[in-house]
Amino acid sequence: MALSFTQGYGRRARQRSADCKLGRMLALSGMVLALGACGLSVEQRDAVRQFSLASNSFGTVTAGVVEALPARVAQVNMYDLALTPDKDKIDFDGPFNERDVAARVKAAKTIQEYGALLLALVDANEAATLQKAGGKFTASVRSLDENQVLSDDQLDSIGKIIVGIGGLWIDRQAAEALKQIVPATDPQIAKLGDLFAGEFNKDGPVPEYMDARAFQLEKNAGKALEGKVQPGDRFVGSEALRLAGTTIRETNTVYPPIADAAMDMVAAHGKMVTALQTGDVSFASIRAFAKRVEDLAAAAAVFAGS
């Protein structure tokens, strides 16, 4: 159908106006893109992501090891009691009463949660919600634009701009939150790292206590097996000896790596703070922490349930 001059002119004018508006929106999105530069760089994101995953895993494994301590001590003490009937009393859980265990498990789980939240923040994009919003805007404009001044491509661009601007704003806000919260958390991570490192290193009180109990059991089991005992007692003796051996191996294999990983966590967190504050990203210590946690998880898995 042919258009009259006025119809044609009016439509072209509206089209020009629409193009102009779209151009302005694109320019605006360019400005917001520049604003997006205030977000995190790819390296900074990667540093936060790697630390988050490692600290989350460190918290999970350490909480599991600590939770198992009272049961392990109780097992050792139970066998020791069976081998030394003249013992009048025994403290089954040793120093691992409810409050002591709860404090350490909570500390490990808080580190785990901290890691998970860092990851949630660094990977926050709210893409689904923003896509929904962009789709609604596009649909609204399309339903009002009866003269089809804006083409489908132009309408889709508007939707994408809304999603893009929203996404960049979220990136920027997430980066600001991380740059503010992570450096302020450094002293607390250092404190908890020092506590775990101090307690679980090879000369720390946890390996020392566990070794002392296991050595005592080993000695008593050895004496029981040396003779002068009934077949039933020999069974208890050999089970006790096996348990003592497992406890000694676990003490040497699992606990010191917790201390090493805790120290690595402190160093890696410090590097993450530097990365966020200066943009100078050094992955070596963050990767060393991740590797250490991987080794710790493998060592702990060997003794889980033993």
């Binding site: 120093p95 404090a103 923040l121 923003l130 609204s140 939150a177 506590l195 070794d211 002392a212 000695k219």
Partner: protein, 102 residues
């Protein structure tokens, strides 16, 4: 200087290697005393550290709460855009009905 744990390991090795019953009995007395002392000192240290853990957790929890709030703020921001989009969509529908004489 050797650590307590190293000294105990030394005593353990001596005890296990000793074949003379009398000498072994003598070492056992010292070994038992060392194990008991080591156990007590370690247990005391573990108990004392608990208070420090509790204090450190309280401080770290503040950061965790701040991170949770920051994460929630981002979700709220996206949801606000979505709400605005929904409102615009509704207005568009009303405007269309009004223009069409309902």
């Amino acid at each position: 200087m050797a650590s307590r744990r190293e000294l105990i390991n030394q005593l353990r090795a001596e005890y296990q290697a000793e074949t003379d019953p009398d000498r072994r009995q003598q070492i056992e007395v010292v070994y038992d005393q060392a194990l008991e002392a080591s156990e007590k000192l370690a247990a005391h240290q573990i108990g004392a550290n608990t208070v420090e853990y509790e204090a450190a957790i309280a401080e770290l929890e503040t950061s965790v709460e701040e991170l949770k709030k920051a994460r929630q703020d981002l979700a709220d921001f996206a949801e606000t855009i979505n709400k605005v989009a929904t409102a615009v969509d509704m207005l568009a529908k009303v405007a269309k009905k009004v223009a069409g004489g309902i």
